[in-house]
């Protein structure tokens, strides 16, 4: 296992104190731990244009889950041999090592690679790839704090970042997830292109009956539609912020119109 030379290595075997914690009893009155009903979505905060060095970026907070995305591109494709008439989109999802209850590794593990692929396939149908041949757009997503629904937050954040970067898109992508089931347990995450009503990502982790799964997918789609006005609002606000407000002294029209 290659050592990380930037870090002073701690003891070889370390364990989180959470292992010794007694499991919390679940309330049975249909309300979740923070008092929400099963259909209630947490308040969302979205802000575009947070990373100054990136072409586009976005930051999302869904309750206590915090995710940041940075988009670089379109830029020259990394490997010269791969000539494509369609542009390429790459995506990398990473959990900050302190983001979850249990400390994560600094190297991307298989769970993060799985999510990278899911987010990539959620964004691809929305982006006009044929508009930037021989180029690639890189999306880097970091989960700063994970309090559930991080995948849905990552998808939404990445699509706002892409829009903020000015990458041409058919539609934004909204992500929503839902935890379901009492006897069997499953978590459904859906990514939707709201104005086209097309599902670009659908993941179910766990076991669910068919009816429950279909119901969960329908609720997630409704949740995604509910997120759409927030995304639109955020992008409009950030565009307005970027319009130069200083008056012109010469009175001649600006070259940019």
């Amino acid at each position: 296992m290659p050592g990380d030379s930037r870090r002073v290595p701690g003891p070889q075997e370390s364990r989180s104190p959470h292992f010794y914690r007694k499991p919390e009893a679940h309330k049975n009155d249909g309300r979740r731990q923070d008092g929400r009903g099963p259909q209630d979505v947490r308040p969302v905060y979205l802000h575009a244009g947070v990373v100054s060095q990136a072409t586009g970026s976005a930051y999302i907070e869904m309750g206590q889950t915090k995710v940041i995305a940075a988009v670089y591109g379109p830029r020259e494709i990394a490997q010269r041999e791969e000539f494509t008439m369609k542009g390429r989109l790459t995506c990398e999802v990473k959990f900050a090592t302190f983001s979850c209850t249990k400390r994560r590794q600094h190297i991307q593990d298989s769970h993060e690679k799985d999510w990278s692929l899911i987010v990539l396939q959620a964004l691809e149908p929305a982006v006009c790839l044929d508009r930037f041949p021989k180029s690639q757009v890189d999306v880097y997503i970091t989960v700063l704090q994970n309090d559930g629904s991080a995948l849905a937050a990552a998808i939404t954040c990445a699509s706002v970042g892409l829009a903020d970067a000015g990458v041409m898109m058919y539609d934004v992508v909204a992500g929503c997830s839902m935890d379901q089931g009492t006897a069997e347990h499953g978590m459904v995450t859906v990514a939707l292109l709201p104005s086209l009503n097309q599902v670009s990502a659908l993941v179910l982790d766990g076991h669910l009956q068919q009816q429950t799964a279909v119901q969960a997918v329908k609720s997630c789609i409704t949740g995604c539609h509910g997120l759409y006005p927030i995304i639109k609002d955020c992008l409009v606000t950030s565009t307005q912020r970027n319009i130069p407000t200083t008056g012109r002294q010469t009175g001649q029209p600006d070259a940019n119109g």
Partner: protein, 273 residues
Amino acid sequence: GSKGSMASTLGVLSDAERLFIVHGVQDDLRSDGRACEDYRHMEVETDVVSNTSGSARLRLGNTDILVGVKAEMGEPDPGRPKEGKLEFFVDCSANASPEFEGRGGEELAIEVSNALQRIFSSRSTLDLTALCIIPAGQCWVLYVDVLVLECGGNLFDAVSLAVKAALFNTRIPTVLVTADDEGQQEIELSDDPYDVKRLDVENVPLIVTLSKIGHRHVVDASWEEELCSLARLTVGVTQKGTIAGLNKEGSGSLDPESIYEMVQVCLFVCLFM
């Protein structure tokens, strides 16, 4: 990070061939004469590799998968002291396709490995407490290694079938735990090679992949059909009809109505497998 879809690693198809396949599927007739919901001819053989605790070889059309399960003793997870462990490793060998040479097959292998971990993530799939030797001390760790010998399309279904067959074939030696004079626990392996424990694989789910081609969806896509489909739905289904994991794959999008229809078809097809 992730760079591309699975289809791009498996070759190219001319526009004429693509159109031929799409039109055929619209009329419920595929290139090899199957209907949209038919599987190809399948052959399963277990106990093929002698050095393993369990193995299986599966041939589905042109797809050839070899799975070996090795049972070793190790330490259980600190958070789950009374359970054994299951670890998956998928290797797309260079034999399967020239694109898999070197690191080419790695991305595909990670996708398959993640799909397996998703369907086995629930506790009801396999009774891991049966793999415990000494709670919080020793347990059986099952290393499930999947080798893709030939890739002729529909990798996920074939791999899940082969894994289930290999787990069914797995024989775990019976161990005796005794306390010696100093109070230390000693593990003794039974002398009789036929004194083994088998696994209950009744609840292990199988994966059914539905590929969307044009406006219809097909089951068990061959590699040419996979190149024509922009979106696939991989559904894990158990014998009881529970959905054990769902994932949409590919760079296309799906209509919500067609998703509900596809899930229905998956359950229907799985009951026949």
